[in-house]
């Protein structure tokens, strides 16, 4: 099942040139870039692991692409995303965040039904990836 999160989530995966162009745009806006990865792709998991330090004061996308190549080599079976943080006063949050790498195959999610009082049903989504402990989720 294909994970759809963040900006461009319903487009086909961006090529490296397209990623580079997006990063160029972010840098032109003066946003700080960072790369994050996770093996727990639940939509509510907003705390992904950071890969390296956030990158401030870059002028060219090449710097982020170097880190991205490195991240892909280190975590070939994780989800990796690129974030752009806008530090302007009053905004101070992510402006753009998109997935740039996904494991193959993607584990997908299961819908769990909880039967509660009066035969009410509560639904919850759980990633198959989290069946196994952290670090062993993508064999």
């Amino acid at each position: 099942m294909r994970l759809t999160q963040g900006t461009f989530s319903f487009l086909p995966d961006l090529t490296d040139d397209q990623i580079r162009a997006q990063i160029e745009y972010c840098l032109e806006q003066g946003w700080a870039m960072s790369i994050e990865y996770t093996d727990d792709p639940h939509p509510r998991n907003t705390y992904w692991e950071m890969h390296g330090n956030p990158m401030f004061d870059l002028h060219d996308a090449a710097g982020v692409m170097v880190e991205l190549v490195d991240a892909r080599a280190t975590f070939p079976r994780h989800y990796i995303k690129v974030n752009a943080f806008d530090s302007t006063k009053g905004i101070e949050s992510l402006r753009l965040s998109f997935i740039v790498h996904r494991p193959d195959p993607e584990p997908g999610f299961t819908l769990e039904r909880h039967e509660v009082e009066g035969r009410h049903i509560r639904y919850t989504v759980r990633s198959y990836a989290t069946d196994r402990p952290q670090g062993e989720r993508y064999p």
């Binding site: 330090n53 870059l58 060219d60 090449a62 982020v64």
Partner: protein, 303 residues
Amino acid sequence: MTDTAAELDLDGALAETRVEELLTTLDTELVGLVPVKTRIREIAALLLIEKLRAQAALSAGPPSLHMSFTGNPGTGKTTVALRMAEILHRLGYVRKGHLVAVTRDDLVGQYIGHTAPKTKEVLKRAMGGVLFIDEAYFLYRPENERDYGQEAIEILLQVMENQRDDLVVILAGYKDRMGRFFASNPGMSSRIAHHVDFPDYAPEELEAIAGLMLGSMQYRLSADAERAFADYIARRRSQPNFANARSIRNALDRARLRQANRLVARRGSTLSRDDLMTIEADDILISRVFNEDADEARAPVGS
């Protein structure tokens, strides 16, 4: 037929990059430095031809552009590096054309595992532009084999080799120490295509530089002051710690200070625009350079 086409092409390429204009300002704004300017012209010509060759589908691979600037302090290495960044940008060899100037402190960490991220961060900041490493020989400290500088050099070398399209590295420093640095790091030396040496300025060139500096600050020297300043340059040059153009700038800054003091002392009389602009001989002659001389002259008499 093909000849004319090529000719037109060259003119077109020149006009398009507007690099000629930049080289002309380099000539007018930088006094002296003839070997440096010749070298920059050569590099610019090579890059331009390389671009035309690429258009004609003749490939020689991207030229290596890493450089080393050697020379005494104040000979204009940083200034030329700034211009170089702009020239390379106009010719399309670096994408953004900014200059990131760093020294050992910005590259080398303080404990194990600190150096690599620090160096990489600087390299990432410089990508798309020019990385200027001032006093690069401090990176290598042979007396301490556990020095982290070596790690920074290795990362630097790797990026210089693999990402030639992404950034240009310029190493700068004193000539003899750079020579020793290259001798002990042959990998570095062989990756640098252009070694440019910055000669010291002649006294007349220093005077011309002073003229340019004063012009940009909207001051001028009176006729007496000009003679005094020529004398000052001659004396200052023979003293230790002479830093070429930088010493001239400092001398002028001090002269401005004294001129201001002199004008304030004249309270009561009116000041003209001319007074505000002119530096008199007295403003220069008070300098320590002349006093020390006088002290030395007096010393034997006293003893």
